[in-house]
Symmetry: C2
Amino acid sequence: MISKNLIKLIKSLEQKKYRKREKLFVAEGPKVVGDLMALMAPQRIIATSEWYKGKQVSEDVVVTEDEIRKVSFLQHPQDVLALFELPEMEELPVEQLSDHLTLALDDVQDPGNLGTIIRLADWFGIEHILCNLGTADAYSPKVVQATMGSIARVKLHYTNLADYLEQLQDAVPVYGTFLDGNNLYAEKLSPSGIIIMGNEGNGISEQVERYVTKRLLIPSYPAERPTAESLNVAIATAITCAEFRRKN
Amino acid sequence: MISKNLIKLIKSLEQKKYRKREKLFVAEGPKVVGDLMALMAPQRIIATSEWYKGKQVSEDVVVTEDEIRKVSFLQHPQDVLALFELPEMEELPVEQLSDHLTLALDDVQDPGNLGTIIRLADWFGIEHILCNLGTADAYSPKVVQATMGSIARVKLHYTNLADYLEQLQDAVPVYGTFLDGNNLYAEKLSPSGIIIMGNEGNGISEQVERYVTKRLLIPSYPAERPTAESLNVAIATAITCAEFRRKN
């Protein structure tokens, strides 16, 4: 049985203000919950008795599949939903940048795109993502789900991106993708530095663009053919990160 | 003014059976409608007077922004919605395969993923996509929108993929991505052939896998680190297509 108060709490966590107030976020499904539990203890677990079987956790709330439907944010509810403590937001130390590749998102808006980017960052061993303050919140149920568990391994740092880049004073190369940049494949790419990806509609903002030291372009094929105007931001992020890793 | 019958018709086109019956599909927004109009005449246009201004088309249905809300499938309705004739499904001639790169989707289910794949195929000059019969329908409003206009330039061929591949008899290389394939970057990649991408949850099906002649893997980084189990299918498609184009 799940109490009315708990249902109300979970439902409220769809909104950022309640996540901040309660310092909690929601994760669903054995894969995502399992990946998070490998790194942090859940605050609450709502699961079917099937899910608890053989697990090293004491039973918290045991529900039927029908009951989990009442709190799930998924179209196809799975057999576990858990609440985890919202990680403390920490400033990313500048020293961390000099021997790692780091992503920076300049207001990526779509939760699906953000989740997909966190997942691919994990794949490519990018442990930290800087997010400008207009970027979608990574702890909304939609984003957490789209990361497929990678939210457990990739750290997000929400910050005023222009201010953050200002203090770097050219300590590391700052890459950005543009429709008039230099061919990604012809460029030397450093094994460390920041890769900035822009907003879905507007790309990289002027305030942030000032700090880009290397402008990259993902070439379309063949060059002269009429084609899509641009690539989806998660797609562009993937192709760029893959090329950095291929070269290094 | 927009008639009740027209509203009803447009709303019905969210469902495949009505798209098939009416032989129509919906596109929205100046970019997507414009890209389609460059290639085919719309059957109906519902737009604000603002949108018609300066266009070489006679006014069909003129509506206010409020009225367009009644028929739009978008969260943020734009100032034009148009109906286009559903293209005739044609079998992709085998001869076409021998000097082109072709994508094949083995039951990609998510409309957002399918739309994103059509958009990136356009970017990489892939003109034809084979879709196994369980693949999401490319003419649903969600997919059309996610293609950002690329649906106008990329041709879709729904077919029994295993049967189609059977008749090829090794005429072209058939690539597929697998978690135990050979490093994509170390492999010779042909400038033509078929690249198969699998379903979101299950990957490439057994029936289709039989026809794969070259198994590819997108390496994670660094190799030994615990990471995401897999990449989103649109992301994997993008990285694979980009590498084919880089090499050729």
